[in-house]
């Protein structure tokens, strides 16, 4: 029955097979789009705007666009978009200040990174005997590729890192440091020990209350004052930890929400099996709490991806700030919109991939696979 397509235009033909479908399609249109004069006007107005918008996108982005040229004047002459700017500038946008001749190392690094991440997200690989060696090997190779200084590779200090690889490293560092801290803070806030509770509450409330930029300022400018003379902690590391801690404070509250949803009976059943606090937490409580809060956790992880742009305050250029810098070039400056659209597409790609994955995880959970 319901497999008959019920487009309102095809309704008379479909009617013979499925009068309900025709009725419901028309009824749906009437109820949702044309239920009153005002509603109808609004529907028409929105349709007009949408059509105009798509027409513009087509006209500007495709019909009159310049897709390839090395001459900015060709772009200036055109009335459409200048996608050529991406081909022209993609390397400094994607790789920032990293030495031009060494960009191949970053391409290799990103391949290793993405491969490792994709494997780690795949349930069939969730086995420490596989994941631990995998992460050790790929971290080492990524370190060698990024820093160099061995195997005949030229040494590149962190002050010259940038672009998408920097975004990836910051993001990964944020999540890998931030998630465990978030879990500990969330547990601490509900711990039986008053000291743990106090520390967690003060930590979370104090850091959630200030803007990220303030935390980063402290991490970069104030924190070194407390170190003994001669001791130096890498700036990039400091800023990663700063972003991670900020991330952790929000994430901790999300996880706490999940913890609160666990019925008391679960703790009691675990206690009656004489499981210890940590056994109960690790095997009974956290697996359930993290599943419950997964949608909100994903939300903050995606937000963390975008917070990586704050590295600008230590003069490092992630993909967004690298693009801003690149687009200062007077020859191409006019086409900054196209360049930013490119960056947006990169963010969208990773952000959307993350949310698709999170949705898949929810399905796996619902089907009992994990």
């Amino acid at each position: 029955m319901s497999s008959v397509p019920s487009s309102p235009l095809a309704a008379p033909a479909a009617a013979a097979y499925d009068p309900d479908a025709r009725l419901s399609a028309l009824a749906w249109l009437r109820a949702n789009l044309f239920s009153s004069v005002w509603q109808s006007l609004l529907t028409l107005a929105v349709a007009f705007v949408l059509i105009r918008f798509f027409w513009f996108v087509l006209d500007w982005g495709v019909v009159n666009a310049v897709f390839y040229t090395t001459d900015p004047d060709v772009c200036r002459a055109a009335t459409g978009a200048c996608w050529a700017v991406i081909a022209e500038k993609h390397r400094p946008m994607l790789f920032g200040l990293y030495p031009y001749d060494e960009h191949w190392r970053l391409v290799l690094m990103m391949a290793i990174y993405l491969g490792t991440v994709v494997l780690s997200l795949w349930p069939r690989c969730w086995n420490l005997r596989f994941l631990v060696p995998l992460w050790i090997v790929s971290s080492l190779s990524i370190g060698v590729l990024m820093f160099g200084g061995v195997l005949g590779l030229r040494y590149v200090p962190t002050s010259e890192w940038g672009g998408l690889p920097l975004t990836m490293l910051l993001f990964t560092g944020t999540v890998l440091i931030g998630m465990p801290v978030a879990v500990l803070l969330a547990l601490g806030r509900r711990a039986p020990l008053p000291v743990a509770r106090g520390v967690s509450v003060v930590f979370i409330e104090a850091l959630r209350g200030v803007p990220l930029i303030t935390i980063l300022f402290v991490a970069v400018n104030v924190f070194p004052l407390f170190l003994p003379a001669g001791v130096e902690v890498n700036k990039l590391l400091r800023i990663t930890v700063g972003i991670a801690i900020f991330f952790a404070c929000y994430q901790a509250e999300v996880i706490r929400g999940g913890l609160q949803a666990i019925p008391r009976g679960q703790y009691e059943a675990a206690a009656s099996l004489s499981l210890s606090y940590w056994q109960t937490t690790r095997r009974i409580i956290l697996p359930q709490a993290l599943r419950i809060s997964l949608p909100a956790i994903t939300n903050h992880i995606i937000a963390a991806m975008k917070n990586t742009s704050f590295v600008i305050i230590i003069g490092l250029f992630d993909i967004l700030t690298a693009t801003t810098a690149v687009m200062q070039d007077p020859l191409w400056r006019k086409f900054y919109i196209e360049a930013y659209l490119f960056v947006a597409a990169v963010y969208l790609f990773f952000g959307y991939a993350l949310s698709l994955y999170a949705r898949q995880v929810e399905k796996w959970i619902a089907s009992g696979r994990i």
């Binding site: 009976g265 206690a271 009656s272 499981l275 056994q279």
Partner: protein, 255 residues
Amino acid sequence: MTQSAKPGPSADPVIRMSHVSKWYGHFQVLHDVSLDVRKGERVVVCGPSGSGKSTLIRCINRLEVHQSGQIFVKGLEMTDNVKNIDTIRRHIGMVFQNFNLFPHLTVLENLTLGPMLTRQMKKSAAEDLAMHFLRKVRIPEQSGKYPLQLSGGQQQRVAIARSLCMEPEIMLFDEPTSALDPEMIKEVLDTMIELAESGMTMIVVTHEMGFARTVADNVVFMADGRKVESGPPEEFFGNPREERTRAFLDQILKH
């Protein structure tokens, strides 16, 4: 009732509660309750809702903390001492009204978790043990399912098997059939009767008076946090001494 179906309890008390009192704030839930349970004895605790039955048995494995009086399990006193609590809990299994199975684990994982974590059993040995007890409660074919895929009666039998996998000497039941549809009550009671016949020491909070009559060695009646009356079932049901007991029995046996 033959002697073999109902092996007599031995003389030494495995649980001794003496003059136990407990308060929630200013509200006293338990008033000076004393109770001895000997090895192999089956005690049924009954009484109106809110009379402190759950609180009483939950004090025995310290899901609740009593404030005065003493509780001994196998000669060990229940105090704040974490090691004692742990040792005592290892001797005691508990079955809850709402089953409290771990919903994110399969039936088999629910059963093997305790033995693997607290008794350092190898996975294969723990699984053998789990299957043994799943056969005992007659649902070995459900081992791969998740708790929420089972009926209430099946879930409660899994919960019983989960406790048995810890090989406890004492089993506490807190209204194990109260959350069940009538047609499932019998399968759980049958499982409990078999357990009783195997000589397990049991304290059962229940309103199933038929179960109390056939299985109990001692029936305890609680009201308002006090142990009002206790005695063997023949006496308790045949000739209750206290007016409150009679009123309670009249009411509950009418159905």
